[in-house]
Symmetry: C2
Subunit: 430 residues, 2 copies
């Protein structure tokens, strides 16, 4: 049996953080968002990272399947990306006039992303989803935006919900929420609000938290594209989370359609801080007409990192590597669960897999299993999709599956009533 | 006479940029915002930066008074800040769990900024002004926000204006615009909208573009503070632009009052990409209740840079250095103008001085003079305040004034009718 990790230093640091930072660690990296249950199982503060590993402040090493919630796509501290960034830093980063690496980066994106005729850079995914919605409203002179249930498009007021703190009804009164994969509901909305819909905004597939992720049904995206085109509505793909993990040419390309606007962030520069909106020629002048800028948006170092990152992703064909490794891991985890009599559901695209142990609808068993994995050095979380990075090795996958088996064994012993079912049939395993 | 700079390569790169980037160079760094008139006088692309200098892609060197529009506060590529950042980068930057440097940075801000009981980090100034307004609405359960004319609080829809592209009336319908320095208008608004005003948001003094900057009148801030307290309204100071250039303890401290929430960005980490909202204890739980996060917000490298930057600013007492150098430059520029018969108005705090040649109300003469300075290696702009950095030397100031004199001489020869007036009186010079 492996050593069980503990987090004394992490807990002490968290107590220190609580004094001077709201929530101690806020947002998706903190315990309050609900993915860290039980919180004692998780390290709240990290010390260092390299390749596919992170080390916490207590000295524990983890194989990291969160990848900083996406940015780590090539492996932490990738030497090629870091070298390009360091070289640019010697010349300058945030300067009074932008560096021409900005143009090089835009040209590379236009060459790489199928639906990109131009690129606009900012810092957050939220900056570019907001820009996309503003552009759609400016172009169409309409107000309404269609969202699909399970969406996450950042934290700006327009994308939140009326019952969230700090949001007023005027922020969200033109938002229409529709079920994912429902062509008829979409058709109905376009009929009901004829000439009023500025944009449809959607992730390339439903990868929301706290639920199995759902791929688009055959023909769904083509129907969305057709309805948008017929109604002069701008089709915005939010590829912040999935971008470059399905297809180097964009997740719209992966699913066989073209967005009008596509938002990138996380995997764009292997963790260097930059986001991008790319789009079609017909919206370029509209983007120019908006008042939209930020202090650090034209900083040169993240552009240099982004160029090195995209060039390396293309050289490696990294989306295929991530899909293959994710597929292998998925199958071996399902087999391990099955061997211990558990029903592990793995949903979403394998390079962004979502996990759920279906044997207990309360998800308590799932949380226990995840905790036993984390305490043995595999950084999964409970209710968020995971991320594969290109430095993840076969040995890492083997160690992950070994730990998963040990964790299944522990919870099987703890809950003999829940683990007594038979293994999955082959059909269920697919 | 000095060599006149030309920008052939810059122009060629701009043509390349226009193909793949909306506006070529967008926002405050681009020509479209109106500060670069005539555009031929300005370099649109930079190559490198060091200390108080920038070099454009044509190889021209400038003494830079824009400081990347604020972030460069210690000098470009400050060795202490860069060393701290590089050391942290070896360990990790954007990781699955945040580094404890986040806590160290928050503790340092709480120790340094008078009105800070806690700190919350993000990427853009816009992220933290938006967070501040959301917090005020959540805390007060009210909608209305008071702005002062000449404001700039970022680019989120709530802070723009109804006639801007992409903005809908619901974005801005609860915004109240009042004249700066007008106690009575403020009192009237609080009376008219009794119990409805969530927040007053303001820069520490009026440093808007295209107009002389205006300091607060004696007692104005104390009146604002009093009215906010009496009406349970949250007082938000947007110190994104002026922060750490007036007072290391915050610009509210400089003007003798305390904000409830204070927004920092530009000078926080000498160009490393980070922003911060600091605030009073009574709002800490409200901040925790909001749904607010971003992919890169807990990246460790900018925190390490921010710590080194603030520690060095404190060690140097840099706000005093910036004020002193700005004051010296201001006086010598006014004297130079006077010697050539021009009326140069220098407004705002000297570390963020705003320039206007008052001899020609159309501002054409001003634009010509600025252009003659830029073409000789002094990077001023026409209609935006300027920024002093701590590496600016006495020799730099001397060179700046020499160039300014040469530029005055050129425009005096060109416009003998405008420059025939007498020098300023001592009273006018103040």
């Amino acid at each position: 049996m492996r050593d069980i990790y503990t987090h004394q230093k992490s807990a002490a640091e968290f107590a220190r953080a609580m004094k001077v930072i709201p929530s101690g660690v806020y947002g998706h990296l903190g315990p309050a968002e609900g993915c860290f249950i039980p919180v004692e199982a998780f390290p709240l503060f990290g010390d260092r990272a390299s390749g596919s590993y992170i080390w916490d402040v207590d000295g524990n090493r983890y194989i990291d399947y969160m990848c900083a919630y996406g940015p780590n796509v090539l492996g932490y501290n990738d030497p090629d990306v870091d070298e390009a960034a360091a070289k640019q830093r010697e010349k300058g980063d945030c300067m009074t006039s932008p560096s021409t690496v900005m143009i090089d980066f835009a040209e590379l994106l236009v060459d790489t992303v199928a639906s990109a005729d131009w690129a606009f850079f900012a810092k957050n995914g939220n900056d570019v989803t907001t820009l996309a919605v503003m552009a759609a409203r400016a172009y169409t002179h309409r107000k309404k935006i269609i969202f699909f249930d399970g969406y996450y498009h950042g934290v700006a007021p327009w994308t939140q919900k009326i019952d969230y703190a700090g949001i007023i009804e005027e922020d969200v009164m033109h938002n229409i929420h529709l079920p994912w994969n429902d062509e008829f509901a979409l058709e109905e909305a376009f009929e009901k609000y004829k000439g009023e819909i500025a944009a449809v905004i959607s992730q390339p597939y439903m990868h929301g938290n706290f639920r199995d992720n759902i791929l688009p049904e055959k023909g769904f995206w083509q129907k969305v594209r057709k309805l948008c085109t017929e109604n002069d509505t701008v089709l915005i793909v939010d590829d912040v989370r999935a971008g470059f993990r399905l297809d180097i040419a964009g997740s719209d390309h992966y699913f066989g359609f073209e967005a009008d606007l596509i938002c990138f962030c996380k995997a764009l520069a292997n963790g260097y801080n930059v986001s991008a909106l790319c789009g079609k020629e017909f919206l370029k002048n509209t983007i120019s007409s908006l008042s939209y800028t930020g202090s650090y948006w034209l900083s040169a170092v993240p552009f240099a990192a982004g160029i090195a990152c995209i060039e390396k992703m293309k050289r490696l064909n990294s989306p295929q590597i991530l899909l293959d490794r994710g597929f292998k891991l998925k199958n071996e985890l399902i087999r391990a669960a099955c061997d211990f009599g558990f029903d592990l559901r793995v949903s979403g695209v394998p390079s962004l897999f979502y996990l759920r142990l279906a044997d207990d609808p309360s998800l308590m068993l799932h949380q226990e299993w995840i905790a036993e994995c984390v305490k043995r050095g595999i950084f999964f979380t409970n209710h968020h999709n995971h991320f594969i990075n290109a430095s993840l090795s076969d040995d890492d996958i083997k160690e992950t599956v070994d730990v998963a088996r040990e964790a299944f064994s522990v919870i099987k012993d703890r809950h003999p009533d829940l683990s007594s079912r038979k293994g999955l049939t082959d059909a269920e395993r697919k």
